[in-house]
Amino acid sequence: MDFRTRAIHVGQDRDSASGAIVPPIHVASTFVQPDVSMTAEYDYARTASPTRRGFETTLASLDNGVKALAFASGMAATHCVTQLLSPGDRIVTGTDIYGGTWRLFNKLLPQHGISVAAVDTSDLAAVAAAMTPATKLVWIESPGNPLLSITDIAGCAGIAQAGGALLACDATLATPVLTRPLDLGADIVMHSATKYLGGHSDLLGGAIVVRDPALGTRLHWVQNATGAVMGPFESFLCSRGLKTVDLRVRAQSATALALAEWLAAHPRVARVFYPGLPSHPGHALAARQMEGGFGGILSFELAGHCDAARRVVESTRLFQLAVSLGAVESLIELPAVMSHGSYDPAARRAVGIADGLIRLSVGLESFDDLRDDLAAALNSAASLN
């Protein structure tokens, strides 16, 4: 079956008892057992729960994996992956990664004896050079956030495998609609389900998907032992969101490309970061690695005074000023003080996040309406130049 058909039907079997076309929301914390052997499919909801498993089954199918695990947030999913490591192990990661991931890797993991090396993962030679015998995990994000760098997933998979490390890919921005990292050799795909999977700004969630059943079992053991699971209501809303994820992401990608082209030609815009533009250094790779679109996130810098960026993000009407991304409503923000404020300022500047960088998360509004909104905001900031 095609992707969109699977998004609606796989893992969402009608309820056999009632015939209900939408499976019931199982809120139970515990499941009554036929006998003391605990052989029933479900026993305690932290281990597994029917509504959560429905979402996990759909997502595993969409990512072409064998097992998915759903978490209370994207950071809980990332944290679960890091629990595969031991003191003395090392992570090689990208420089263009989500601020929360940067904080977990750089502020928390070192307390447990795990070291982190950050390199520009769009440069495969730099990734290979960073590998040491202690490297057990390579963590990449493609497209990166907020600079939309493109990392060669298959290339990193080869390097990680040769070095005896696992490759994990945060595919939150790419979504399974546009990229299936497991097909490209990644061992683990991670999603902040809060973003495109849920898609409506109304839940927090995370997920990991794997293609090796044994790795899935290890990660499920960690999840069950640490307990940061997705709740039944969020699982229901995520499953509901997946039914339109293909429509949403394709529409958002088309609008984002049109906006990126329009911004690139705008006299007040100095630079646009969007992998769909031929001027983007990762464009050719993105065109190969992403299928049918380049995603709904783009960033840009203004020409001139950096206070103008603040004026722009505070003047839009349709683009609302908030962190997060991937939903039906368009959002606008300043990464340096908002989504990536958890970086150390020096580290943030070193990776190229300018104080005046503006990030857009393109929603489902029409291109004309969004362009008019940005045009008005750019004009209102013109006086600061």
Partner: protein, 421 residues
């Protein structure tokens, strides 16, 4: 960054300050309106989405605030049966999408119809229906409204002369669906509205099948638009809701009666409806595309005797549909024939129903999942063959309510099922 300040939440929901005014939606694209229409820009707690107010009742600070409320100096919430902040948001969104002044939400489509008619019809008055309207709507008027002294008539669908002839000085309402279900007859909406204007009767269109994406009855001059919001508006087969849209003047009595009769929707449902509406335009585009692709496929299939779909040039109402509708929706009805050209019997027809893999067997329509049913079995099993003949429900009729799956999957699934049967 602004510092969050405490909100007077109840007052906030009914008397938005400047910053909390919904975005003006006139002139915005249908998808922009689906996402933003009716919603305050700043919501309680600075949430990007509207909170779900589960409260059954709303408290007053002191006695004076009750007096102010009663004397209408300070509009606000009072008790859940009279209104709920989340319900008001989704009502504003529905009104904006339909191009109407006000929307009143009910627990179901039938709840909305009953609420509207009970508020506007009294003993001695009459109502006239086109006869392909939903049979439960007509049953309510024929069996129950008549007990309250309201006269009921029905005339053949799209027979405008018969409709005019049925109107008497006592007639208060004329009613139709468009397109009708399952025959997909399309009413000339301007002609229908014109009859109402000229004859001084209220006009009601049940627009459940076309939705405001495909048809604009209020712009054509119709007084009320009714939807089973369970269908395309909610769109995910996971809630029940109904709505009436029209002018505030004509709907205030409906809102007041709803507060007395009590058929309100729940706060959780209202939120799911609002959430479903965010992808409304996107989904409708896909439903329309799937409807047309499947109808064209079926029309060419040797085992198909006839296809009912207003987007097909062969459909008797294609011209009026093409003139008035943006697209034709996801409902496709067809008749099955045997290899020798004779009409299939009901058991043979049921084989197709039982052989499809993607559409599930069930009533309803308008959700992301495709559904299939045989009207003779699903809705008319207890009627005699003569009655089914009068309803034009032959044994070999199949109704498809197409979802948003890929057209190619639906077509290959149907093709295989037709080969098996």
């Amino acid at each position: 960054m602004p510092t969050p300040k405490p909100h007077d939440l109840a007052g906030h929901s009914t008397v938005p300050s400047h910053d909390e005014q919904p975005l003006p939606t006139a002139g915005l694209g249908p998808s922009t309106a689906s996402v933003h229409a009716g919603e305050a820009r700043q919501k309680p707690g600075f949430s990007i989405t509207d909170p779900i107010f589960a409260a059954s009742t709303y408290t007053f600070r002191d006695t004076q605030s009750i007096v102010d409320f009663i004397e209408e100096e300070h509009p606000r919430e009072e008790y859940g049966r009279y209104g709920n902040p989340g319900e008001r948001v989704v009502e504003r969104k529905l009104a904006a999408l339909e191009g109407g002044e006000m929307a009143v939400l009910f627990a179901s489509g039938m709840g909305a119809l009953v609420g509207l008619l009970m508020a506007h019809l009294g003993a001695g008055e009459e109502i006239v229906f086109f006869d392909e309207c939903y049979h439960r709507s007509r049953e309510f008027c024929r069996k129950h409204l008549t007990r309250f002294g309201v006269g009921f008539r029905e005339v053949p669908t799209c027979d405008y002369e018969a409709m005019e002839a049925a109107i008497t000085p006592r007639t208060k309402f004329i009613v139709s669906e468009s397109p009708t279900n399952p025959h997909l007859s399309v009413v000339d909406i301007e002609r229908f509205a014109d009859i109402g204007r000229r004859r001084g009767v209220l006009t009601l269109i049940d627009a459940t099948l076309c939705t405001p994406y495909n048809l604009r009855p209020l712009e054509a001059g119709v007084d009320f638009v009714l939807h089973s919001a369970t269908k395309y508006l909610g769109g995910h087969n996971d809630l029940l809701a109904g709505v009436v849209v029209g002018s505030a003047e004509k709907l205030e009595p409906v809102r007041n009666l709803r507060g007395i009769m009590g058929g309100v929707n729940s706060p959780h449902n209202a939120y799911l409806l609002e959430r479903g509406l965010k992808t409304f335009a996107l989904r409708m585009e896909r439903h329309n595309a799937n409807g047309l692709a499947v109808a064209r496929f079926l029309e060419r299939h040797p085992r198909v005797e006839q296809v009912f779909y207003p987007g097909l040039e062969s459909h008797p109402f294609h011209a009026v549909a093409a003139r008035t509708m943006r697209g034709y929706g996801g409902l496709v009805t067809f008749l099955l024939r045997n290899a020798d050209g004779s009409p299939a019997d009901w058991r043979q027809t049921a084989k197709v129903i039982d052989a499809v893999k993607i559409p599930r067997i069930g009533p309803s329509l308008g959700g992301v999942e495709s559904l299939i049913e045989q009207p003779m079995v699903m809705s008319y099993w207890n009627y005699s063959p003569a009655e089914r003949g009068a309803f034009r429900i032959p044994d070999n009729m199949i109704r498809l309510a197409l979802g948003i799956e890929d057209s190619a999957d639906l077509i290959s699934d149907l093709g295989r099922a037709l080969d098996v049967a």
